[in-house]
Amino acid sequence: MECEYCEIINGKGRAEVLYEDNDVAIAVKDKVFTPGQITIFPKKHYTILEMVPSRVLEKCVAFANKTSKAVFAGMGSQGTNIIIQNGLGAGQSVPHFGIEVVPRREGDAVNLQWESRQLAEDEVEMTFSRLKKEVPDIVKRGLKGEETVEAIEEDQEERSTKDSYLLKSLRRIP
């Protein structure tokens, strides 16, 4: 297997696994923002956030929060950044979803602060109206569990047409 995180789970790769259960692993890897950084990732290979089923994501998030607490208490950190780099464009370096818990200290010389950009007003308006129109629907549908995973929808459609076919043929029996 080529994926770095999958290799970590299989005991290869330059990393130490701190914890693992059936769904999630918590590990220290060698490529980080700051030393002491900890990565939480699902054991199953999901490339990006959107593919991670809600149940697994919830678990990852809960573990990330606990890891963050542990980092505060255990390493005497003054802060933590919780970061999800999602997709190549975001600088995600391993094609396997993960949450990074980055311990921070005053003056640690790590700059995770972006510069804000001036946007033209009409650009902002356009983005706003577009997102306002689309986002609530997608989120609500998502939260209801009707994830916009077309494959699943198709699957269900298939099944339902099969069902109805069976039903029809049943009904046909006198």
């Binding site: 990393a15 130490e16 696994v17 701190l18 914890y19 220290v28 890897k29 060698d30 980080v32 923002f33 700051t34 900890i38 199953k44 290979h45 999901y46 490339t47 990006i48 959107e50 593919m51 991670v52 809600s54 994501l57 809960a62 929060n65 606990k66 963050s68 607490k69 980092v71 255990g74 390493m75 005497g76 950190s77 003054q78 802060g79 933590t80 950044n81 970061i83 999800i84 999602n86 997709g87 190549l88 464009g89 975001a90 600088g91 995600q92 370096s93 094609p95 980055v102 921070r104 972006w114 510069e115 804000s116 950009r117 306002k132 689309e134 986002v135 997608i138 989120v139 939260l143 077309e150």
Partner: protein, 277 residues
């Protein structure tokens, strides 16, 4: 508004604060907090989405077009103070918002970013999530480049694992410890006086296992650490008792080693994922 207070005024203020009930203090906090004001609609914003737990607005100082802030309605200064349930909800919403950004803005990635504490760049003591659409070369965040060596990885593990297990509540062990304590709390100190030295072999690991409960209960004062790795600069609270580390280590390498690859999830966002190939 930022007038200097005289000493007398300050004293009065302090007294007043002390005499306030927790509810009153919470109310005051709300008045002072920008995000609470936004939640209450007292500051105009470009609101994209809201539900009972959170709302989403356009960031007025965006890193990129479509940079969103996901704000919990409740005033939590930092993430560790948020319940798992609420936090899960926030991240689930973030997931679907991220999905919308990829789709609507044709972003080639998103960053979900949270800062806990001023040292992490947090400016307002009200926990929020940033959801930022990303493009190659936008330089919004640096990539993870710092390489740390294997020894360092080991040190991190040693420093943090104990604490992590506490947080995760590794239940198996806790239960057995309690039983032990109930059985005979008086003789435990003697047992503890002789912690197994040298963490290499398995027999000792077993012993460590036995010891684990009583030691877990005591304040962490023991000094039997692996000496070679003591050059970590982290403060000592994190240092493990050796036997605990041992037990923890055992747990870490426990049963579920194999990842089964289920049938591939076909997702409409495959293109994003495909970029990796």
């Amino acid at each position: 508004m930022a007038e200097e207070l005289t000493d007398e005024q300050r004293k009065k203020l302090e007294e007043k604060l002390r005499s306030m009930s927790p509810e009153e203090i919470a109310a005051l906090q709300k008045q002072q907090c920008v995000f609470c004001q936004i939640v209450e609609g007292k500051i105009p914003t470009k609101k994209i989405y809201e539900d009972e737990t959170c709302l989403i607005i356009l960031d007025i100082n965006p890193a990129a077009k479509g940079h969103l802030l996901l704000i919990p309605r409740q005033h939590h200064p930092i993430m560790p103070l948020i319940s798992d349930k609420e936090l899960s909800h926030l991240y689930l919403v973030a997931k679907f918002v991220s999905q919308s950004l990829l789709r609507e803005l044709k972003a080639s990635g998103t960053t979900i970013f949270a800062a806990n504490g001023a040292a992490a760049g947090q400016r307002v003591p009200h926990f929020i999530l940033h959801v930022i659409p990303r493009k190659d070369g936008d330089k919004i965040l640096p990539s993870e480049e710092k390489m740390i060596d294997i020894g360092m990885i080991g040190n991190v593990k040693e420093t943090i694992q104990n604490q992590l297990f506490q947080e995760l509540g590794v239940k198996k062990k806790v239960v057995s410890v309690q039983k032990k304590l109930e059985a005979g709390p008086e003789n435990e100190p003697e047992e503890i006086e002789e912690p197994p030295q040298g963490s290499e072999d398995e027999a000792e690991a077993e012993e460590a296992e036995k010891f684990r409960k009583p030691t877990a209960r005591r304040p962490r004062s023991k000094k039997t650490r692996k000496s070679k790795e003591e050059d970590v600069e982290e403060p000592p609270q994190g240092s493990e008792d050796e036997e605990e580390a041992e037990a923890a280590g055992e747990f870490g390498t426990s049963p579920t080693r194999k990842v089964k690859k289920d049938k591939d999830d076909a997702v409409s966002l495959d293109d994003i994922a495909d970029l990796f190939r």
